[in-house]
């Protein structure tokens, strides 16, 4: 059972809770356990950090992966994963009052501070792609490993996939950025596979919500869909988020004989409304969307017409067998937190934060072993060693098997296809894409 030291939890607030690192646990075996036999002679304290949005509008997102990462550190210390060396955990909040949530400027300031700290070896974060844009150049110049649990924008690592991002300009130094979540490129390839192979839709009409995520996903889908033999009818509709009536575009879709309507964007920007208005426009064809569409707001907005709509989203980690131990460990470690933070399953990225930190710890351990159980005197050398280890890391954790490709993107590319059945999202199947772009159904 988890028992905090006296007074350790007396300070209220998420950020202060998250910086605790001295809590002891007596149960549960973390995936990083295995002792530090080779590192018995290791001496010193190594700092690892998270940079996630913890307050404001993001207070329901960021704290979960932060707690997950903190749990990984606590478990590593308990199991002496680094032998005689200890890990110290630091939590940074990239929210600002001005933005009422994640703020790229705050993220940049946090990473600058962490990079300047010669005990910091790596950071788990950020949560938002916009924050990653300001953090990656700083981390790259300072050789600071950055492992994101949640960034899906492909433009962060893959040149030419997002017209708004100059990918190569982000990496002014070394490529120190990694992510444990699959990108929208993977998602778009899977969506194109579903559209052409499973729904057999030869003609599609495309919508997007003009936003970085939505338009990016639509452009990628369009590319892979036409590669797979599909035809885009009419001109893709790129509409502002304030749009409420889609009759003009749906009319075009129906007269042009669309066999599929695709929406790249979020339900806040009309995904459910488009689905809801298809029937009135005489369109009885399938509807397909990305992870921005798969939520309860979609069901409300599409109303009675929601049934049959399909959307891909990140795999439901809470149902993975590999994550069962993690979730019970989390519940035991954080049972004294207020709801919802005492339940790791309330947010899909909790397990991603946990695995990202465990991967960082695994790379640190490998780097220490290579250096004969000594912490390198020069932090830059140490960071470079960890980056080298991250590029070749192979890790089985809560979210499955993770390795990184040359871009630092995960090869764990599974997405789950969901379908609305009787007014609720139901799991249909899980698909994955391999490094050569071939999509296959996993389950």
């Amino acid at each position: 059972m988890y028992k905090p030291k006296a007074g350790a939890l007396s300070v209220a607030g998420i950020a202060s809770l998250a910086v605790l690192s001295a809590c002891g646990t007596t149960g549960g075996g973390g995936p990083t356990s295995g002792g530090g036999g080779a590192l018995g002679s290791c001496r010193g304290t190594i700092t690892v950090a998270t940079d996630l949005p913890l307050t404001g509008g993001d207070a329901t997102d960021g704290p979960f992966p932060a707690y997950g990462a903190q749990l990984a550190v606590t478990q590593a210390n308990d199991h002496h994963t680094l032998g005689g060396c200890r890990l110290k955990y630091v939590s940074k909040d990239d929210s600002s009052v001005a933005q009422n949530g994640h703020d790229p400027a705050q993220g940049a300031a946090n990473i600058t501070a962490l990079a300047a700290d010669s005990s910091v070896i790596g950071v788990v974060g950020p949560f938002n792609s916009s924050v990653a844009l300001t953090e990656i150049p700083i981390a790259s110049q300072n050789h600071l490993p950055l492992i994101s649990p949640a960034n899906t924008n492909p433009g962060l690592t893959q040149p030419g996939t997002n017209p708004a991002i100059d990918t190569n300009a982000l990496y002014k130094g070394v490529h120190s950025y990694f992510r444990v979540i699959a990108t929208d490129t993977d998602q778009a390839e899977i969506l194109a596979y579903v559209a052409t192979k499973e729904l057999s839709a030869t003609k599609a009409f495309l919508f997007d919500d003009q936003q970085t995520y939505g338009k990016g996903l639509r452009l990628l889908f369009q590319k892979f869909y036409t590669q797979d033999g599909g035809t885009v009818v009419g001109s893709p509709a790129s509409l502002p988020s304030s749009t409420k009536t889609f009759s003009t575009q749906l009319g075009e879709a129906s007269t042009d004989g669309a066999k599929l309507v695709f929406f790249g964007g979020t339900t806040g920007n009309g995904c459910g409304l488009v689905r809801g208005q298809m029937a009135a426009a005489g369109l009885t064809v399938p509807f397909l969307g990305g992870d921005g569409c798969e939520d309860t707001k979609f069901l409300t907005d599409a109303g009675a017409n929601a049934n049959g709509a399909e959307a891909t989203s990140a795999p439901d980690v809470t149902k993975l067998a590999s994550a069962a131990t993690f979730y019970s460990d989390y519940a035991a470690a954080y049972s004294n937190l207020t709801a919802p933070y005492n339940d790791g399953k309330k947010e899909p990225y909790t397990a991603y934060g946990y695995d990202a930190m465990n991967i960082l710890i695994k790379a640190i351990k490998a780097a220490l072993i290579n250096n004969h159980a000594k912490v390198p005197a020069d932090i830059m050398t140490f960071r470079d060693d960890v980056i080298t280890q991250l590029h070749s890391v192979s890790y089985d954790g809560a979210i499955g098997h993770t390795t990184f490709d040359t871009n630092g993107d995960t090869t764990n590319t599974g997405f789950t296809l969901y379908q609305v059945q009787s007014g609720a999202w139901a799991t249909k199947e899980t698909l994955a894409v391999d490094t050569s772009g071939n999509v296959s159904v996993k389950s």
Partner: protein
Amino acid sequence: MAPAGLVPRVRRPTGAGRAIPVLRGMYRWASGNFPAILLLVIALTVIGVFLQGQGHDQGLTLMGLQLRNALVLGAIYALVAIGYTMVYGIIELINFAHGDVFTASGFYAILIATLFGLNGLAAGGPGGLVLALLILFPVVMLMSGLTGMIIERVAYRRLRSSPRLAPLITAIGVSFFLEGFMLTRAGPDNVPTGRSAWITTHAFTFGGVSVSWKDIFVVAVALGLMFALGAFIRGTRLGKAMRSTAQDRDAALLCGININRTISVTFFIGSALAAAAAIVYTINLEFIQWNLGYRLGIIAFTAAVLGGIGNIVGAGLGGFLIGAIYVFGGQLVGGEWSEALIFAVLVIILTFRPVGLLGVEVTTRA
């Protein structure tokens, strides 16, 4: 000079014509505007052929479909625009809270429908539907009309003799108040109205263009209410009072017209029409959102300016024109340009014809 729409233009029909004034009026309008109608038909055909050339296999069908969409959208804009134009015509105030009265009416409609179990009633069959509509329209229009009257009484009446800017700022304040109230009460998301089963049947298909009873209902409600409003303003004592107040408030007062009551009635009618627009909107699109009226109000206001602010016929015409610009602009140039096009047209109209299409110069009060 008075805003033209509040002054009777058409003499009342006599004899047989009185029995079917609407048809007679339509005939007279159609014959009087025959060249314009012919031009419109030719323009639509040309656009259709153009679309066909653009790679749309069924350009003409698409054209017809978009014409239907334009009419449905335009009908809602027109109903909201009339509220703006009536208030402006009578007290020369741009009532920025009007769009939010529209939204509030949508929530009233949900409230009333839940209270009386109208959703179940309407789904029961044609009889139930008619009954549900007969309950929903008067009750919600009454509630909304009273809301409009209260807004006028509380926020505008005391400022009637203040500088023009004071009531304008107050109107924006009322708008913010209503939006904030609806946001806290109804939440930030779209609120479903559960009206999907109200009108579902398909009416007819003409040349590949399928028209549902819902489409016909929206346009019919708008046109019906507009004709009714026209008859009210032309034919009743209150209507006459409104016209004279619009022409010259002080002279109307001297003639013994109760100005306060007349202005209250104007707000009542304008808000009630917005309520009718909100009801058809919630039946047509099946949701309402706290800030929906803000943007819709701005567009409807544009329609009122386009038609000639203060002119009721102009507001109706402007509403349908804006609907057409929105839909056809979206089709031809791309949906992301729809709203930009509306305001571009507004700028052009105001540059070359500052009073709007049907407007007449309004002398500014000293």
